[in-house]
């Protein structure tokens, strides 16, 4: 069993296929909150499903509405099973904070240096 260390922002247990995004992403404009797929045709993972995945996001760029998309993913039940953030900012994890305030089901969120997630392969159950 592989173990990686990071900072826990939202604790919990989750299991699902691993998906590491190959490029930074703006959830607004980059993720469809209804289908839970990568919607930006310029993104290398365009079309990939994030629902139920252990999703490693190296960096979030772009829109400050990405927190709102994260909230809608939680509300719609189309969220990743867990988020592994390369770097925490005041946007993506905020969507989970607000989701908890609204009593939505939240997901575990950890901050882990991007290199550390290289131990996992895409699709691997973690």
């Amino acid at each position: 069993m592989t173990e990686i260390r990071g900072r826990v922002l939202f604790d919990g247990e989750a299991e699902g296929p691993f998906l590491r995004l190959r490029a930074p992403i703006s959830f607004w404009g980059g993720v469809d909150p209804e289908s839970g797929t990568i919607a930006d045709p310029r993104h290398p993972d365009h079309g990939a499903e994030i629902t139920g995945r252990i999703l490693a996001v190296p960096e979030t760029v772009g829109s400050s509405s990405s927190s709102a998309i994260m909230l809608e993913l939680l509300r719609n039940g189309s969220a990743p099973a867990a988020l592994i953030l390369g770097r925490v900012d005041a946007i993506l994890v905020l969507g989970v904070v607000v989701g908890r305030e609204l009593s939505y089901k939240t997901v575990p969120v950890v901050e882990v240096a991007s290199e550390a997630t290289a131990a996992f392969r895409n699709g691997e159950l973690v």
Binding site: D40, V61, G62, S64, S65, A68, A90, I91, L94
Partner: protein, 416 residues
């Protein structure tokens, strides 16, 4: 993290349940970001009033029901509706109702109904060194870079929470040291004529965001003529492709009297030369098709300023456009156009003026899809995913010329 006794009492519910929720969110985010304390803010700009789904409406209405009021002057970013011309937006009835409720909730909390992503051109201009909490990526970049005010990139909902408790986490771009540039961008090999052209700035911004991520650059070698609308376009594109909340332009922006000043007299971690080849590649990335014909033109992301309307008016021909021609702006700018008798001639030429919202955040363009031409880096970057349109990027002059024929007309000479 240390809270003052006032902050602790708000957290404990002394100012009511809404303020307690907002303080809880601010304090929790401050912890995640590693802030040692909170800092008082003097204004806020809210991006959370745009409808993305019912969750955002539920949060806003919950705050209203719990008695939330903003404690600092607060402006509102675009919503999903053109409130002055409701039929412009082709939203389904549920989305329309929810978007309206969401916008109303923020007004009820005491926010000014400015409905613009360029609040800095609608009278909301915090001064150098002033701490604020702004949302909307372009507004954040402008406030930090051009005005020298201090805000982090705050996501939707953090903005209203900060506004209600008049506090933000004291971390990141609020602190002196985190505002210093660590990267120098050398533009000396880019032709001067191109660097003086409006069409260069979204391209520079798009390249900057992709190249830097979240690092802070000082851009060296831009001409002294570089103006506010050019910096607005630069920041908007950089904040779309990157996590750029602040950039410096040597000799132009307030914290970059010189390159050395922007670096805080430290050695840069990196010096990146922007080559003419990289400029052309970044320009080409803004288009998704070479495009022979276009189906629409859209301008105004960020919202068109009065000065940009003047530029457009100077190019207006005496015949109508062949394709729909949308210009998105704030209602404050439209009021000035109206007062100056300028709206009629624009409409006569075929310009559709959209206020309170814009064409990539809500359904305004025909749902048939097609090719959109724009001079906005942000429209170029978001249109394919948000509204399913292919994009051709060009200058304002290119957009006007193309709208007259319905075919792509681009002046290639400026690119050298």
């Amino acid at each position: 993290m240390t809270l003052t006794s006032d902050e602790q009492s708000v957290l404990d519910g002394a100012d009511g349940p809404a303020a307690a929720v907002c303080m809880r969110v601010v304090v929790e985010m401050a912890g995640f970001l590693g802030a040692p304390r909170l800092i008082e803010i003097s204004s806020a700009h809210i991006d959370g009033c745009l409808y993305h789904g019912d969750g955002g409406v539920e949060f806003a209405q919950r705050l209203v029901e719990d008695g939330a009021r903003v404690a600092v002057p607060t402006t509102l970013n675009v919503g999903a509706l053109d409130l002055l011309n409701p039929s412009r937006v082709n939203a389904d009835p549920h989305s329309y109702q929810m978007a309206r409720r969401q916008m109303a909730a923020y007004e009820t909390m005491g926010c000014a109904p400015t409905w613009t992503c360029a609040p800095y051109q609608a009278g909301h201009r915090p001064g150098l060194g002033e701490h604020v909490a702004w949302g909307e990526s372009n507004a954040v970049a402008f406030a930090n870079s051009v005005l020298g005010a201090r805000t982090n990139r705050y996501g939707d909902f953090m903005d209203i929470c900060c506004a209600v408790v008049a506090r933000a986490p004291y971390v990141g771009l609020h602190t002196d040291v985190e505002r210093l540039a660590t990267v120098v961008v050398d533009t000396s090999t880019v032709p001067e004529r191109l660097k003086g052209a409006d069409v260069f700035f979204p391209v520079l911004g798009s390249w900057l965001g992709r190249t830097l991520g979240a690092r802070i650059a000082v851009i060296d070698g831009l001409p002294p003529s570089t103006g506010e609308d050019q910096l607005k376009a630069l920041g908007a594109a950089a904040a779309t492709t990157g996590a750029v909340g602040l950039f410096h332009v040597a000799g132009i922006t307030p914290e970059a009297r010189t390159v050395e000043a922007a670096l805080g007299d430290r050695q840069p971690e990196d010096v990146i030369r922007l080559t003419p080849e990289a400029v052309r590649a970044a320009r080409d990335e803004l288009s998704t098709v070479a495009g022979e014909s276009i189906d629409a033109v859209a301008l105004g992301s960020p919202h068109f300023s009065l000065e940009e309307f003047t530029q457009l008016e100077e190019l207006l021909p005496d015949r109508r456009f062949e394709v729909p021609f949308y210009v998105c702006t704030g209602r404050g700018v439209l009021e000035q156009l109206d007062a100056q008798g300028r709206t009629g001639p624009l409409i006569d030429a075929g310009v559709e003026i959209i206020v309170d919202t814009c064409v990539v955040v809500t359904p305004i363009l025909p749902s048939t899809g097609g090719t959109l031409m724009t001079n906005s880096g942000k429209f170029a970057l978001y249109s394919p995913s948000n509204i399913g349109y292919d994009v051709v990027y060009g200058s304002l002059e290119d957009c006007v010329a193309s709208a007259l024929t319905g075919r792509v007309e681009r002046d290639e000479s400026v690119w050298g």
